[in-house]
Symmetry: C2
């Protein structure tokens, strides 16, 4: 294995952005589509997203939500109702203006001028306004509350600078929309969904995150509060991996989402919205990838175990394949994390080393190699992709006739899941500075020649309005942003490093995607 | 129950189209969205679609396909490459022309003239052309074949006359796209997927279908052969419920999808595509609905069993709910059709009769009512929605302390599934005429005062081109269409009723959706 050890041409430490692109291509996850800012998600990338959908959907349903489907198109007039919301999105939307094509004078097709829409339609960048419309019809009395809906859908935001999975013009996501009787219930729900995201990111994606509130300047257009989970990538940058918004009565006022309370009074609902997207796949790559490619946590690996028979295009192959098929069936009949183990017997022709490296680059958690000689000796070679076994992550294991091999696969998968989380968590903690107490130190830290400087957690006084704007401007000049005010931070005390006022809480500052 | 027996205001026999709309609303499945031709799919309707997705997806994966995701937008130039294809679709597409909005002079927002796209983008009506693009990049040699891909997505076709689930401007579907080394393999695959659809429709949806080939005039734009499954609705009309296309080398030529064969020669691939959509939900309603609302086959019911405690807003409710929760857990721990039974305890307040009728209209297969008196006597009332037990479908069953009740639920669900299929199949066969041998008899049959005349299977000579066009025109004047040439028809003999030429096969003629 060592002879062609580096599966990628670029290492993380040399050029993280290039490395990221190379992993996507080397793991065959996605590619540019030729349509501006849109990508094609290939089977391995989509398989990971499908697993995310499947597991997150269970958690969303378990917290009382029903899935629904709303139209892709939103009439402009509908979109305009919430002023901040439309300001936030109007700059980057795809607009449908015609519903027919006709042959043009110069050949080819052109939009038919006679089929111009009376009112342009916007391709949804998010669906608060159109859910709001329905909620105002569906909610009559307190008995109808809370109303908890979720949608899995594609959305479009016309991004100028795109990067696969992280920022594409079209992306896939889920968007939750709920309506509640009062602010207490709505705020509680906002945090409940934040916690669903936190535990999903950490327990399923093995991606440690900080859950907290975004400062005012980072709020979703139209929200009263925006909460996020933030993950640290291996280049020290932050990735906002999910958001949960308390929308107050802003959208309720705009769409008249109201109900009759127990006393017969008409009241406005308080609404929330929250979402995660295919961006999580990008976060996964930058959290777990190494210089050999992707590493997929077993929970969300489309295939957790790959069996690679070392085929030699000879008659012996038949016995080898039979042996491997028995092994596959034995492993598949076992369960891990409440599901049958997902094991694939890779029957494709090709050299053993090439096949192994295909799966190493894709990041399959366990690869089992079986050759003709192994067949005789009753052993197989097990490779754990997280390399906890020496440099190659290889170990000769007694073969499938021996109970040990199959029985240990489940334990091994659990161990890989835990190990990926632990390493990411350890790396994050190593790269957070919590001892910076002045603006000078902050500047010095981020201006140092440390390539990937990580995050800084500082005390601040939570300025608002113009005061906040000044601070944000200053950070921007250092290419820095506020991430969030963590829910589990130590108490603040002393002085805000930005304003000199008494500090009231702690906040994360970092470069970000 | 008999006091308010008719849950709907319209009966099937009085106005089938109105009845259909009423079922959708009474079962709370979907509603008009206010966006032209688009609907909102509500939890019960979407839950049925999710079950369809889940079960069909397994079958698509089991036949060797990988799921992927391609862009929503297709550049016009890309779409134009296959001439028949673009002719077939250009008339009904949503066209994106701008990517930004700005404030207009009269207030409100308008598309920004400075953000006009150089090349308009089409919102995909189907994705052959964009899959073809990728296939030409991904396929190099015979080793890459067959390439079998599938996508779950939304598509848009600008329909002038829409009807919920059956014909909407935006709809949800899956579209499979495959490439093969030769016509034999591609044709085989076209029929393999037709068979997947047939068995899915019959075994899962309990919807009997006829699988067969569409005549030339009904082919998908760009296809060499189009095959379909056709279901008979309760008004005797045909619903095309799924299609599978052999595309020959038409799209391969347009997008240069070629490969090097074993002899080193460059060859064009042969491609297929096939899809089913949310239209199936409409088919389900019109196959199984009755004058009380929808009836959902247990396989795809979001909830198969509803437990309705007859709550009285008194202290006794607590014991009743505890009893019902035990019953729920006991049923949920059982399996049917390889999955845990999906059972819901409906804790909502409200009168027992009102709650029962909510679930009758939604078509939950089994409703179990438990009242305070039942608690004492150890019985529950079981209602089977297919009404095989007398007029109300009710039966008092020994309670959950008795093994019989829970153990029989699985058997009951299987029986309902079978019964719904049998009734639909029997009705279809009763409404197919196979003895019509002249055009006069055909006309007479469809001009009779029979409200819902059903289908006719006749012999024909498979005319093509102008000959076929004439026949189609004649049928059109009778509001009739060719459905398909069934794969399992009896041999033809004698004379074509349309042309007088010797007959070569049999074909279905019917009114259709």
């Amino acid at each position: 294995m060592s002879s062609i050890r580096h599966a990628l041409s670029i290492k993380r430490e040399d050029d993280f952005a290039q490395w990221y692109q190379e992993v996507i291509s080397a793991a065959d996850m996605a590619e540019e589509s030729g349509v501006r800012g849109c990508m094609v998600i290939k089977p391995w990338g989509y398989g990971i997203w499908e697993r995310m959908q499947y597991l997150l959907d269970q958690r969303i349903k378990a917290t009382g939500h029903d899935n629904v489907y709303f139209p892709l198109f939103i009439p402009l007039s509908n979109f305009e109702r919430e002023a901040e919301h439309v300001d936030g999105f109007a700059k980057e939307m795809a607009v449908v203006t015609h519903h027919r094509l006709i042959p043009g004078e110069k050949g080819g097709l052109i939009p038919d001028p006679e089929a111009k829409l009376e009112e342009p339609l916007v391709v949804r960048p998010t669906s608060e306004t159109i859910f709001g419309d329905a909620m105002s019809r569906w909610i009559q009395s307190w008995r109808d509350l809370p109303l908890r809906l979720n949608q899995w859908a594609n959305v479009v935001r016309w991004e100028m600078r795109t990067r696969m999975f992280l920022r594409t013009s079209e992306f896939l996501w889920q968007e939750g929309h709920t309506a509640h009787a009062d602010d207490i219930d709505a705020r509680e729900h906002t945090l409940r969904m934040l916690e669903v995201y936190r535990s999903f990111a950490e327990d399923v994606l093995a991606m440690p995150v900080v859950a907290g509130e975004k400062p005012e300047n980072e709020r979703f257009p139209g929200a009263e509060e925006t909460w996020s989970i933030e993950a640290m990538m291996q280049d020290g940058k932050a990735l906002q991996a999910g958001t949960s918004h308390y929308l107050g009565t802003n959208f309720s006022k705009a769409a008249d989402i109201s109900y009759q309370d127990r006393e017969g009074q008409q009241q406005l609902c308080h609404t929330t919205s929250w979402g995660v997207s295919t961006r999580l796949v990008g976060g996964l790559i930058m959290t777990h990838g190494d210089d050999d490619g992707l590493r997929v946590p077993p929970s969300i690996a489309p295939w957790q175990v790959i069996i690679c028979p070392m085929l030699r295009d000879k008659q012996e192959d038949e016995a080898l394949l039979r042996y491997c098929e028995n092994l596959r069936a034995a492993i598949a009949s076992d369960h891990v994390m409440d599901e049958p183990i997902r094991v694939l017997l890779d029957r494709k022709p090709g050299k053993a080393a090439a096949k192994r490296w295909d799966w190493v680059r894709k990041g399959a958690p366990i690869i089992i190699e079986v050759g003709g000689r192994d067949l005789a000796s009753g052993t197989v070679t097990v490779i754990r992709r997280d390399r906890l076994w020496g440099v190659d992550g290889k170990l000769a294991v007694q073969g499938p006739s021996h109970q040990d091999c199959t029985a240990s696969i489940g334990a091994l998968l659990r161990s890989i899941q835990r190990n990926l989380y632990d390493r990411a968590h350890e790396r994050r903690e190593r790269n957070i500075r919590r001892d910076i107490e002045t603006m000078e130190d902050l500047e010095a830290f981020f201006s140092s020649d440390q390539r990937y400087p990580g995050w800084v957690e500082v005390q601040w006084s939570r300025p608002t309005g113009e005061g906040l704007a000044k601070v944000v401007e200053k950070l921007k000049s250092l290419k820095l942003t506020f991430r969030n005010v963590p829910t589990d931070a130590k108490d603040a005390g002393g002085t805000c490093i930005f304003t000199g006022d008494p500090a009231v809480e702690r906040i994360y500052v970092a470069r970000a995607y």
